[in-house]
């Protein structure tokens, strides 16, 4: 049977989508779960997949057109089916028309305004209608002692948005595009990525119940929901990076507050709203620590203060995931490891060879890598993957006697540490003066992900670890 294909909800905050491109053309067939179009939502370009196989009979919204949630964007069905009835239904209730959205098309509006005036809902109205419809829907469902489970099923919106009497619930399952699922079964399906459409319900009126999900999972006869899993995932797991050797990462959907913070701060200060935090660190124990390490190493293997700092920064950043993250508009990417970029001055400028997984490496190994890469950097022999894709960077100008400076963040990293020189300084202790080696470190923070307190807490950990290197073991 030919059906309207409605604009699905592809992100939690999506209210409308713009067709980016159709991957299937009119007349093409497609399988269940196959991507048939790409849709630009408020957040990103999303793949729109078919929930069941069929043929694309008619495209109602071409590339570049915008459709509200639940608005028909195509007609699908069997090859050669007569869709004239559906088309006239769509045009008569105004749903096939271009909605007046962000980019109103003046011509069209003028042309059709007369016939459309009464029926096309204004921007606010469709929601009202949907709400009203939903309430009706709920009442009907409770009468049949079941629960509607709409979220995977864009077609179900039809009931909610279409006020015509024919959209009343007729049979509880499938025929009008609605599943009845017990709450625990729904929950289990979401948690395990089971596509409810592939499960047969054994409860009254075909209600899908717990044991149906269990037996589907046991028999392995179920298909995975595409596109939904990422939002639903609760336990963080890391996915591998495309750059070989680079840290795995996980992404979390950027919260609305985070997005607004990012947007407002960018407006104020530029694409990366940066702020700076400076901390003074007593380096005596770190220097001693370095001396201890070096005592057992050959001359050319000796580690520098900076090597110790790289290790400490890596360890500390893992305790503060936002520092080892990357702001990507709709997502914040958190890295599993700290791939620390170390700024190295070369004749023509600056390059940052990366110590991959510095958190997992020993200081001697870090030292060896930096030395080796720095020398190749000067010979311009570094491979691109050796200097791109760090998760965090360090710039040290201590050797030039610089007391304190600010470094520029290397996007898409969220922070960079600017390390000054460690200098013996008179410090008041127990009422007297003592000489302590003090070092100033300034962190430049991407305010879109790192707030003042987040950065401060990181620096606190960083400082504690340098002042008491044994804490790195904790």
């Amino acid at each position: 049977m030919a059906e309207k294909f409605l604009m699905p909800k592809l992100s939690p905050t999506m209210e409308e989508g713009q067709i980016s491109r159709w991957l299937k053309q009119e007349g093409d067939t497609f399988e269940a779960n196959e991507t048939i179009a790409e849709v630009d939502t408020d957040k990103a370009t999303m793949e729109m997949t078919a929930l069941a196989g069929g043929t694309l009979l008619k495209i109602l919204k071409g590339a570049g057109d915008t459709a509200a949630l639940g608005e028909p964007i195509a007609i699908t069905g069997e090859k050669g089916e007569d869709i004239a009835g559906l088309l006239s239904e769509i045009s008569s209730n105004g749903r096939g028309k271009s909605p007046e959205k962000a980019e109103p098309k003046e011509e069209k509006r003028e042309e059709k305004s007369e016939e459309v005036e009464e029926k096309v809902p204004t921007r606010e109205e469709p929601n009202e209608v949907a709400k009203e419809g939903n309430e009706e829907l709920k009442e009907e469902v409770s009468e049949t002692e079941g629960r509607s489970y709409d979220y995977q099923r864009p077609e179900a919106k039809e009931d909610a948005t279409d006020k015509s009497p024919k959209s009343k619930v007729q049979s509880p399952q499938f025929e009008n595009g609605r599943l009845i699922v017990s709450p625990i079964a729904a929950r289990m399906a979401v948690e395990n990525g089971v596509d409810l459409k592939s499960v047969k319900g054994s409860g009254p009126s075909g209600r899908i119940i717990k044991r149906d999900i269990e037996s589907a999972m046991e028999s392995g006869q179920w298909s995975v929901v595409s596109g939904q899993k990422e939002e639903v995932q609760t336990t963080p797991s890391f996915s591998a990076s495309q750059t070989q050797g680079a840290s795995a990462y996980r992404e979390e959907t950027t919260s609305k507050m985070r997005r607004i913070i990012a947007q407002r701060l960018s407006e104020s200060i530029g694409p990366i709203p940066t702020f700076y935090l400076t901390v003074e660190i007593e380096m005596d124990k770190a220097l001693e620590f370095r001396k201890l390490i070096n005592a057992s190493l050959k001359e050319d293997e000796k580690v520098s203060v900076n090597d110790v700092i790289v290790k400490v920064a890596a360890m500390a950043s893992l305790k503060h995931p936002f520092v080892n993250s990357s702001y990507r508009d709709d997502k914040i990417r958190f890295y599993e490891d700290a791939d620390v970029g170390v700024a190295v001055a070369i004749d023509e400028g600056l390059i940052t060879p990366i110590v991959r997984g510095a958190n997992r490496k020993g200081i001697a190994e870090i030292s060896r890598e930096i030395k080796e890469m720095a020398s190749r950097a000067r010979e311009k022999k570094l491979q691109p993957e050796e200097y791109t894709g760090a998760t965090f960077s360090i710039s040290n100008l201590g050797m030039f006697g610089i007391k304190e400076f600010t470094a520029i963040i290397n996007p898409p990293e969220a922070a960079i540490l600017a390390v000054g020189t460690a200098k013996p300084t008179a410090v008041v202790e127990d009422g007297g003066f003592v000489a302590r080696n003090l070092m100033n470190v300034t962190m430049s923070c991407d305010h879109r992900v790192i707030d003042g307190a987040t950065g401060a807490k990181f620096l606190q950990t960083f400082k504690q670890m340098l002042e008491n290197p044994i804490l790195m073991l904790m």
């Binding site: 017990s182 709450p183 729904a186 717990k210 044991r211």
Partner: protein, 327 residues
């Protein structure tokens, strides 16, 4: 531990509390010389005399009011209603006075009183004497409502109720006075109000039962295990108000299915309240609509066969469990 009936367990609780606290006294119709209509107060008048065990005329509103006044003045009265059907006459004192006094006196007068007696159906006592009033009393802020189902619970809960500083409606069941069970003899054996008891552990379906329906639910659970290999968990809230919903919710999250068995009528019952709270707190864990077994929506018939049909029984509970388990 000693084996005794609920009747004797209540008697023991009363006796121990009379001895423990000189402010405790019992008052009601036939509680003294006649040893109580259901012999719950047997021997107490002989042992403690007129001051502690007081016979009253047939004047529920009057002696309930005397009890409220005595409680305000610092005593701890236990008011016995021969059946809770008669408490309806005293409802103004219970609801308008005992329940509201602490609030309306701005915390000046607490009312540590227990209203106790049999609630629900007996054997062919017909429409006016078979009512289950827990939902009625539980509806009013200021009252605690307690319903024991075993001798040990009866003793521990009555002692806690007497020691509680709030008015407590303590609902017994005439059919259950002779029910036997092990009872701790410790004089300070208390069961805290507001704590449910898992009477039987199970994994597939939860039955929430109280008072008379607890033994029925236990039998139904046995039957489900034997005939269908369905493991039923039976929870007795014991206190209706405050209600230990956490224990019920925890169980439903485990079993995903809930049957509520109760002796009251269904409409606006305690079971309706439990259903709502479970829906609110464990909606996403339910695999089937919650099912209730209640007394028929009619005044209790006198005829024995009709009375049996009107009341919850084991087959009805088994059928409900099967339904929520999709069997």
């Amino acid at each position: 531990m000693a084996e005794m009936t609920i009747r004797d367990a209540l008697n023991q609780a009363l006796r121990e509390e009379i001895i423990r606290d000189e402010n405790v006294f019992i008052m009601g119709e036939e509680v003294a010389e006649y040893d109580g209509a259901y012999k719950v107060t047997r021997g107490l008048w002989k042992e403690f005399g007129d001051k502690r065990v007081v016979d009253t005329p047939i004047t529920e509103l009057g002696f309930a009011a005397v009890g409220v006044g005595a409680a305000m003045a610092g005593l701890r009265p236990v008011i016995e209603f021969m059946t809770f059907n008669f408490s309806i006459l005293a409802a103004d004192q219970i609801i308008n006075h005992a329940a509201k006094m602490l609030y309306m006196s701005g915390g000046q007068f607490k009312v540590p009183i227990v209203f106790r007696g049999p609630n629900g159906s007996a054997y062919q006592v017909s429409s006016q004497h078979s009512q289950a009033l827990e939902a009625f009393y539980a509806n009013f802020p200021g009252l605690k409502v307690v319903m024991p189902s075993t001798p040990a619970d009866a003793k521990g809960l009555l002692k806690s109720s007497i020691r509680d500083d709030n008015p407590v409606v303590f609902l017994e069941q005439e059919r259950m006075y002779g029910l036997k069970g092990e009872v701790p003899e410790d004089e300070d054996f208390l069961i805290p109000l507001g704590v449910a008891d898992v009477k039987r552990e199970g994994t597939d379906c939860t039955i929430v039962a109280r008072s008379m329906t607890v033994p029925l639910a236990m039998q139904a659970a046995e039957q489900m295990q034997g005939e269908f290999d369905v493991s039923v968990e039976v929870i007795d809230p014991r206190t209706i108000k405050p209600l230990d919903i956490e224990t019920i919710v925890k169980s439903v999250k485990k079993t995903n299915r809930l049957v509520i068995a109760e002796e009251s009528h269904a409409f606006a019952s305690v079971g309706a309240e439990i259903s709502y709270q479970v829906m609110e707190k464990a909606f996403d864990y339910l695999d089937a609509p919650i099912k209730r077994i209640s007394t028929a929506e009619a005044p209790m018939p006198y005829a024995k066969n009709l009375e049996e049909l009107a009341l919850p029984d084991v087959p009805k509970i088994v059928a409900a469990v099967k339904e929520v388990c999709y069997l």
